[in-house]
């Protein structure tokens, strides 16, 4: 549901693994690289800690977009966690497409601890993408919004 209001800001939840992506976010911060304040970062020990329920619950509780960031494949702190996460998210995102949820509300991006710039750019482009999609209605719990 695209909105005409230029000022509308999407709520974004970013799950970041402790070892790479969270450190990447830190670097983005300490390098004074800008990314939208609407991105709420949730730190997880590893990208594979995120199960599909996390993603769905984020949407249920009002997120307009959810992004998962982890170490690059091959660089996982626990060797292989992100490979499992990759399969899970591939299937989950495909299911969300299948149910008619607008594509673009979910994303996975591999961000290392040295990639502050990538983190900032990723968040900027993701927020912009979700902004064009408008508020998430199809996956939100409407109980409190009516």
């Amino acid at each position: 549901m695209p909105v005409n209001n230029e000022n509308w800001k999407p709520t974004i939840v970013a799950f970041c693994c402790n070892w790479c992506s969270y450190a990447g976010a830190d670097l983005a911060g300490s390098s004074r690289l800008a990314y939208p304040a609407d991105v709420k970062i949730i730190k997880v020990p590893c990208s594979c800690r995120v199960n599909p329920m996390f993603i769905l619950r984020a949407f249920e509780k009002g997120a307009d977009g959810v992004i998962l960031c982890g170490c690059h494949p091959g660089d996982c702190h626990y060797s292989t966690g992100n490979y499992y996460a990759r399969r899970r998210m591939t299937l989950l995102f495909s299911m969300l497409d299948y149910l008619g949820i607008e594509e673009g509300r979910t994303r996975v991006e591999w961000v290392s601890a040295a990639e502050g710039v990538k983190f900032s750019e990723t968040m900027n482009s993701f927020v912009e993408k979700v902004r064009t999609l408008g508020p998430s209605v199809r996956l939100g719990d409407l109980r409190c919004k009516n």
Binding site: F93, G100, V108
Partner: protein
């Protein structure tokens, strides 16, 4: 059918098994219920016919905790579930004596107008016929056996039993449709059409959890949706989101473990085509990670507990 009863009785008498898990006659020809039989006398109520769709492998979880062996009758498709449960260490293979029974496709009473059926002829086993003679309160009718089959029988996985101790009876491969045709049809829709389709189906959901409870793969001791600490609880029906979340998670949790036995769709009181969720995952897994059929090979690595370093990235090529 007499052969099955006879064999069960002799296994009981010899003491090789302590009980029999099969199907029991109901009030009507179609309302057979899964049942345990402990004596030869009780076995007089044993029945095996076209309406024995219930997959008995799930009951073996509990039976595995009891003293002695249980004789269990499994249709070819049930054996996939049995294997999968063995793989997950929920069933003790040693506690089961499996008689693989022949199957010629199982029937959905609803397709015959269940609420008015007084009697159905031609659904017996092994002598089931091509045409069912249905006597209803409001007259008689003839229905082709094929037209009254469960959805899952039209995409039959084949007549081979995956695990058994002995086989009794002939099976027929009733497959006459493409297993993924329905999924592909939905995939081809626009997001709006997809959403409208699933919204219409899922808004019927009454949160009875029959799909979860009948599923052999859904056998966690405590389900997340039964947790009192979880505010998206299993009972509330709010039409906005909870049904969607429940059904996505239900299907996801069995992804890579679902044998596509079709029990979820069989039992849904609202006729929601729940297999469309499971089959979507199966289709994706086959496409992305190589053909995989749960319940065939106990030692095979499951798709969600393994990986390749060159797996596809999430979201690549979608839309």
């Amino acid at each position: 059918m007499q052969e099955l009863i006879h064999r069960a009785k002799s296994l009981l008498e010899s003491g090789e098994v302590s009980r029999v898990l099969g199907w029991k006659k109901g009030e009507n020809v179609f309302d057979v219920e899964p049942a345990f039989f402990a004596t030869a006398e009780e076995l007089e109520n044993f029945v095996y016919n076209g309406f024995c769709g219930a997959n008995l492998s799930k009951y073996m979880i509990e039976a595995s905790t009891w003293e002695g062996k249980t004789l269990v009758f499994l249709k070819p498709c049930d054996t996939y579930s049995f294997n999968q449960l063995c793989k997950e260490h929920r069933i003790d293979r040693e506690k089961a004596y499996i008689i693989g029974v022949g199957c010629k496709g199982k029937l959905k009473a609803e397709k015959l107008g269940a609420e008015n059926i007084l009697d159905v002829q031609g659904a017996g086993y092994p002598d089931c016929s091509d045409t069912l003679k249905v006597t209803t309160l409001y007259g008689e009718q003839e229905v082709a056996y094929k037209d009254a089959m469960l959805e899952r029988c039209h995409v039959c996985k084949g007549k081979e039993h995956q695990v058994y101790d002995e086989l009794i009876g002939e099976s027929v491969d009733t497959c006459d449709a493409d297993r993924f045709a329905e999924v592909a049809k939905i995939e081809a829709m626009s997001p709006e059409e997809k959403f409208a389709f699933f919204q219409a189906e899922l808004s019927k959901c009454i949160r009875c959890n029959a799909c979860r409870n009948v599923c052999p793969a859904c056998s966690c001791r405590k389900c997340i949706f039964d947790s009192t600490k979880f505010d998206s609880n299993q009972k509330a029906n709010t039409t906005s989101f909870e049904e969607k979340m429940f059904h996505i998670i239900r299907a996801f949790h069995v992804a890579g473990r679902c044998t596509d036995c079709g029990e979820c769709s069989r039992v849904c009181p609202q006729g929601i085509p729940l297999h469309l969720f499971n089959r979507k995952f199966i289709k994706d897994i086959n496409n992305l990670y190589g053909e995989y059929q749960a319940g065939v090979d106990i030692d095979a690595k499951a798709p969600l507990t393994s990986f390749r370093t060159d797996d596809a990235e999430p979201g690549v090529g979608r839309g």
